[in-house]
Amino acid sequence: MTAGMELSPYAQSLGMHVAQMEDGLPLIACDAGELALGRPGFWHGGVIGGLLEIAALSAIRAKLGIDGKRLKTVNITVQFMRSAPAGRAFAIGTIERAGRRLVTVTAAAWQEDRNRHIASAQLTVLLTPED
């Protein structure tokens, strides 16, 4: 996987892209354009959730080499910690446990300061059988 890893139509519609790889994990960046805003001047919570999910699924694709088509999100819990003014945000996933059928993954998002998260998420992802 490279920084050119193709993201979903949803991610592309919002301008999400792989900024760089860190330890085999894609760092997803997104400049909140007009289409990403909720109340004027601030990121929509749903887009932050979407960014976290993209980071989590991309982490599984890149780190475990699994085709994105095999990934089914079973559940996602998003904790919103800070309001996020329009502008660039980053997110990266961490694989907590990779099983044969289920992967537990977390993701964190931040803006200027990597240690001040705007939101984090925990996901359970099901690996559907290979074709």
Partner: protein
């Protein structure tokens, strides 16, 4: 998240007013994330609100299958449950989503409109506890269920 505006810079704020006066039917999004999702009002009950999310290839997780990404479903249920919290309090107030969990019971059907129903099942001081369900034809065949928490805030900076 819920202001409506015809043109950027001309925002009609609904805050501090009764929920009964909040014109959900006129809630057409022309700007912001709503312009991408094309989300709209669907129905209103005594203790629930429903918004609709039309299917759109631009918000799919996979270009080939056209299955919606989870981000738009989070947005749909975030907005529907947030409005349900206002409904329960009877007022449109400044609030933030503290957390939101979605369980996906099945994949949404490509090409189908998704309905998001939000309900506020309890309030405690500044906290509002909500649940939501996303479905196509029947509440008995849900795509996703959500549980979340909102908190009232003062005027946002």
């Amino acid at each position: 998240m819920d202001e409506k505006s015809e043109t950027p810079g001309e925002i009609q704020t609904p805050y501090g007013k009764p929920f009964a006066d909040y014109d959900m039917r006129a809630m057409m999004y022309h700007s912001g994330h709503g312009a991408l999702l094309k989300q709209q009002f669907h129905a209103l009950g005594e203790n629930w609100v429903e918004l609709a999310l039309p299917w759109n290839a631009a918000i799919a997780i996979d270009a080939e299958t056209g299955v919606l990404a989870s981000g738009p479903v989070i947005s749909l249920l975030d907005n529907a449950t947030g409005m349900a919290a206002w409904q329960r309090r009877g007022m449109v107030l400044h609030q933030v989503t503290v957390d939101l969990r979605l369980d996906y019971l099945r994949a949404p059907t490509p090409g189908r409109m998704l309905i998001g129903r939000g309900e506020c099942h309890g309030i405690s001081g500044e906290l509002s506890f909500v649940r939501g369900v996303a479905y196509e034809d029947s509440l008995d065949d849900p795509v996703a269920r959500a549980t979340g928490t909102y908190m009232l805030i003062g005027e946002p900076s």
